[in-house]
Amino acid sequence: MTPTVTTSGDLPGGATYDVTVIGGGVVGAAVARELAKYPLRTALVEARDDIGEGTSKANTAILHTGFDAVPGSLEARLVREGQRLLAGYATGSGIPVERVGALLVAWDEEQRALLPGLLAKAERNGYHAGRLLGAEELYGREPRLGPGALGALEIPDESIICPWTTPLAYATQAVRAGVHLHLGCRVLSIESGPYSGSDTGSGAAGGRHTLTTSRGPLHTRYLVNAAGLYADEIDRRMGLDTFTVTPRRGELMVFDKLARDLVRHILLPVPTAAGKGVLVAPTVFGNVLLGPTSEELDDKTDTDSSADGLHFLQEKGRRILPELLDEEVTAVYAGLRAATGQEDYRIQAHPDRRCVTVGGIRSTGLTASMAIAAHVTGLLDGIGLDLGTPRELPAVTMPNLGEAFPRPYLRADLIGRDPAYGTIVCHCERVTLGEIRDALSATVPPGSPDGLRRRTRAGGGRCQGFACGPAVRALFEGARP
């Protein structure tokens, strides 16, 4: 089967899709992958030019245990299930994950007093490996921690994960299994009407949606709204009005790899009435992350960083890990959480609309994505979509971007077969010509040099392109049709 990935021009015609997933973030891609197991004609449409271009590319890259979710909530269940599913999937598909564990560090008596309650909450969420540490043990575990910490709650299973490879793996697997991926395809309006065609296996539910997109019309019987920040707007285009998405900006700073040895665990703040606070965490790329801020905005495109935000992070970081601030900053970015005014996911089937809305997926969406996908597929079944018999998807192997696993520049076997894997193009991140070439010809190729960076790390290092920027851009441009 020839994979179908389109990026421009009119959408290909053809039969009405059984299901169309709107939104190619980590959730939409996971849903598309889950649907790919069934004999369905499925489309994944994304307004931007790449998978994971919105909120999914700018998060804290943590694979959560869900220890601190609201017990009994849908989010608590899906994070717990999703963590297990994704941890297993990551191992099989080459998504870098490191189980470094988390420490919730108490910096004052008020915070320390909250730790036993958090431990009890973790137990209620089915997480039983949590443990309280005294100050001495804490400093033994994290010797570079700033002075004044009183103790910590340890959550040994909190892990770090590659946020970019994950949605890409889902999309790659989905596309290879026959899902059509349409990028640069913004949904402008949705008309829902009766359907009497005979070109699908299931004629049970009459009616189809006609999506007017920036790339022409698209017909589909069922819809999954996984539009993230824009899920409320897509809903409204179908006459549904159940929630409003308020973007909540989180700014983050990425410190140089030379800072990596300063920290061993994910250092989480103790959530208090004053907010969730700021974390310090290693990344699978070998950097150290500091953030996020939290700020409600009106503008769903405002991913700017701010002087105040960066200053705030520096102040917080200096307290947590003083030596971190002596290191160079490699990157600064901001992500927007899709807050909906409710501390739980808003996943809802609309039987009369043949539609499932997946809203309010905030920072835990990466962790929960596979469980959300299974849940959504169940809801589609419940509103009349005949799924048919599932099959196992052929496995996918993603290029390794993680430092805890051998990268191509260290692999004599690969270089022996192809010297391109010994030809380093991006020196800070040690990305080879072979990896860049592979990414440019992958099932889901990048739509921009930024997309290439998320697939290979090229240009994402401490020099930010001083040494390799034009070379990487030339390779990208050279691969364009």
């Binding site: 990425v254 935000g309 520049y409 004599a412 270089i415 030809t423 020196h427 930010q464 040494a467």
Partner: protein, 429 residues
């Protein structure tokens, strides 16, 4: 073992002017097998993409960067150094930490003190044992992220290094209206490159006050120079649309442009030095080193802009050549008797001094002088050298000390420094 194990006498890391200078002189002096490794596919370092003239030591005229780079390469190869490009040193196998600043450069080389480094190239993986290592990994400009400039992340944001490569090596389109941040020589080089690429330079920006003398000398009227101003934001989502500046007095101004070049603000490419456990100088952020280019790890030397971001290419080349003699002494085991190195430190507004450790008795820095930088302009300053409260020297500069440009301190006082004393401090009064 999937690594090809090899041994050399001297491994030089980096084939810019400094590394090529070291390699040329060492090979010519009979140091044995001298191998220069360059991670780029072409040797020559930053001058490869500096198309302006003035290289080769002359202030006016002189060679262009690419010509100069080729000359450096030719000289090293002709002298018998083995130059290998596209080959990256990825780490030290014996990365023992050499200890604190107080330990400093030591002596007594022994076969057991050889250095082992891992290397990646198209031909595969290697493990190279070297009796001496010369680090010449250079410097780079701080990018936007490290400068903590807030705003969006649009395209059109460059450092000079990236800009020059884009224009001169790749012929890539850049933009149409540019703002250059920085008024040092490298900023003017960036502006020239932009004009070559057909880009209008709408403004140059510096956080320094106006300098009447510089205004007379420098390319007057080619574009406005905005002084006492810093960048406080970049606008634009996909492509840059403007740069917001704040004047010292609090006023802000947004200059519409599609390109911004962040120039200067050099930081040593010190990853390999740090991975090797070398002590850094807190001022330069490069390896701490003495007048014999010795770092805190015996047998590991450092030259060029890794030590001081940045001096002219000719200075880097001279340093490389000057390092050959101490490297040869190390190879021969004839290092002068150990002497405790004394750190040199500067007081604000001075930023750094290089070299920044005292060396063996009689050792003098290049041209008998130390190089310094200041954070703000100083008119005819007096540099006072003290140790443990005792004044060692006092030197008046004939010219103003200006940010981003070198000025010097004669090394005559070195004999008066107490090798058993505390840090030598240099203060501008």
């Amino acid at each position: 073992m999937t690594r090809n194990e090899r041994a050399v006498d001297v491994l030089v890391v980096g084939a810019g002017p400094a590394g090529l200078g070291a390699g040329a002189e060492l090979a010519a002096s009979g140091a044995g097998r001298v191998e220069i490794l360059e991670r780029e596919l072409d040797a020559g370092g930053v001058p490869r993409h500096c198309h302006h003239s003035g290289f080769g030591g002359r202030l006016r005229g002189g060679d262009t960067g690419p010509d100069y780079a080729r000359q450096c390469v030719r000289a090293a190869v002709r002298a018998g150094a083995v130059l290998r490009t596209g080959v990256t040193v990825t780490g030290w196998v014996n990365a023992t930490t050499a200890g604190s600043a107080a330990d400093g450069p030591a002596d007594a080389p022994s076969p057991a003190g050889a250095h082992v480094l891992d290397v990646t190239g198209p031909a595969g993986l290697e493990r190279i044992t070297a009796r001496a290592v010369v680090l010449a990994t250079g410097a780079r400009e701080r990018p936007r992220s490290a400068r903590l400039i807030p705003g969006g992340r649009p395209s059109g944001v460059y450092t000079t290094g990236e800009l020059q490569q884009a224009v001169h090596l790749y012929g890539q389109p850049v933009g149409s209206r540019a703002v250059v941040i920085g008024n040092e020589p490298v900023g003017h080089a960036a502006a020239d490159t932009l004009r070559t690429a057909g880009v209008e330079v709408v403004a140059m920006v510096t956080d320094q006050p106006p300098s009447p003398v510089a205004a007379l000398l420098r390319l007057q009227g080619r574009c406005p120079l905005l002084t006492r101003a810093t960048v406080i934001g970049l606008s634009g989502r996909a492509r840059l649309t403007g740069v917001t500046l704040r004047h010292e007095d609090g006023r802000t101004l947004t200059v519409p442009c599609d390109t911004v070049v962040l120039t200067g603000d050099f930081v040593p490419d010190h990853e390999l030095a740090r991975r090797g456990g070398l002590t850094l100088d807190p001022g330069t952020r490069g390896p701490a080193y003495d007048p014999e280019y010795r770092t805190s790890r015996p047998g590991v030397f450092a030259v060029g802009n890794l030590l001081h971001g940045v001096e002219r290419a000719g200075v880097a080349s001279s340093e490389g050549r000057a390092a050959a003699a101490p490297v040869l002494r190390h190879l021969a085991g004839t290092v002068p008797p150990a002497r405790r190195p004394v750190p040199l430190a500067v007081d604000a507004p001075l930023l750094w001094i290089a070299p920044n450790r005292t060396g063996p008795a009689g050792a003098r820095p290049l041209r008998g002088r130390f190089v310094l930088r200041t954070a703000r302009r100083l008119d005819h300053p007096v540099l006072v050298v003290t140790q443990d409260g005792r004044e060692l020297d006092r030197q008046r500069l004939l010219l103003p000390a200006v940010p981003g440009r070198p000025f010097h301190l004669g090394a005559g006082w070195l004999e008066r420094a107490d090798p058993h004393g505390g840090t030598v401090r240099i203060t501008a009064v």
